[in-house]
Symmetry: C3
Subunit: 204 residues, 3 copies
């Protein structure tokens, strides 16, 4: 089940990246590249940090075709996309939670410290979007928007402590999804945000 959700999440991230590319008037190649960076970047950085070789898309390169296919489909479907705003936001929320669970899982399999498990989940969940924003020349949204990384940390904690408590692995996945996904959706609806730190003096 997680594998199916993973592919849906990858495709969803690719599609949101394609729309960001369209707003920067990129060409079709740029759309595909930005989609790859966004959809696969978080997992790639996690694998680099953990020394987890081969990288998952090097091992299973057909995932690149899925990403490029989803990105190009978005170009074709751009006209209907505005009617799908909430579909995208829901798929993106799903992607965040699924990526987090998968990232935590890989760190757990490698036997890392619990803190690193949470970091691995968060890096997998949010660094693709950070890379997308850097390439689009924006300050990453995740630094100042609605609860996003927090959702990833909560999801990771539920997953980790669920496994630690000896619960069935499938049940723990469902539990983590059932906590993380609604939390992100409610944060979107209610516009929950972390407190901001505003500092306007220049030390230099």
């Amino acid at each position: 089940m997680l594998t199916i959700l993973f592919y849906i999440a990858i495709a969803a991230e690719a599609m949101t990246a394609a729309l960001a590319a369209g707003r920067r008037k990129m060409d079709w190649f740029g759309v595909c590249l930005l989609a790859c960076v966004t959809a696969l970047g978080g997992g790639t950085i996690r694998d680099l940090f953990l020394g987890h070789y081969p990288l998952y898309w090097v091992k299973n390169p057909y995932i690149l075709l899925l990403v490029c296919g989803a990105a190009l489909a978005t170009i074709a479907l751009a006209q209907v996309v505005d009617r799908l705003r909430w579909t995208f936001l829901l798929l993106d929320a799903l992607g965040l939670v699924v990526f987090t669970i998968i990232g935590c899982n890989i760190a757990i399999e490698m036997g890392t410290h619990p803190l690193i498990v949470l970091v691995a989940g968060m890096v997998t969940g949010i660094f693709g979007g950070i890379l997308r924003d850097v390439l689009c020349n924006d300050v990453p949204l995740v630094f100042s928007s609605e609860l996003y990384a927090t959702v990833s940390i909560v999801t990771g904690a539920v997953y980790y402590f669920g496994l630690l408590a000896g619960l069935d692995a499938n049940l723990v996945v469902i539990l983590a999804l059932a906590v993380g996904f609604p939390l992100r959706v409610v944060a979107l609806i209610k516009k929950w945000e972390m407190p901001k730190f505003v500092y306007d003096k220049d030390l230099r």
Copy 2:
């Protein structure tokens, strides 16, 4: 022969990076650093992705001196450089094709999937320029300019399928150069571009 072309390409990338640094009024150190990132960044990211250690410039550090030398020479020669516009564009085109071939070659030696061979070539060819543009605070040119990544993919495909067909390795290198280099030059002259994806609604 490929080794000589490789050093020429490295120096050419370093020089174009130095000019970009000059447009941002960087100091001499910034010029050298941007040159290193541009000339060596693509190959570095490829090596990180493939887990191909030691990195090629760690193994052969004199390449760093070549890059910094070429960058500093550009400062001295800045006055004559505008007369050399086409020399630079040609050297840059050569660099793209040579980097691609070398990147594909390393992936082939590591026994990766054909798709990953093409990706390794493309990453080697274009990611140095992407890093340069990110550090200069621009949206990377490669996302929207004349055929560039496409040239890399075509070159990589010629190289891979040439070797697969059992042709002599040197012949295949010449073949890949003979397809990729003119393709890029013609694209520059004719201003061939990929179709753009323009999307101006903001989903957020």
Copy 3:
């Protein structure tokens, strides 16, 4: 001693990053993430370049808590921070020198070429700040500000040649600190800068 200085330097980098985050009105999470990237990014990139696994913060994850703690403390203390301008600049200078020494040391232990030892020191010292500036959507300061990378290279050279000359390891650390730290401080006071390269024609 170096370990204690290392923790002080990590905390100092985290605090300067937190102030940069505050100038961009980031939320508390963004403050912590930017602090981690700034304080740990240089060492992380060095470890990736050298294939030095596990990464130091994966091996010792409590360092993440130190960074986030220092970042959050900065939010609480923001009111008194302007009176501490020079404290920060001195701590930042200390961080640069300490990070450089530690980076050189790891490269020496791995038996790399002397040039790579200097590069490892410099990457450890300055790449955290480069990543911070990229995420804040600025052209990195280090490309055009007062002597910074130069201080790192001088410190690394003193450290490397001191060890090569067979001096006692602790003495060499003190020597490198005694050269690098005052050099940076004097450069700040006297506004010493590298010569700039200014080039205002656009080749494209």
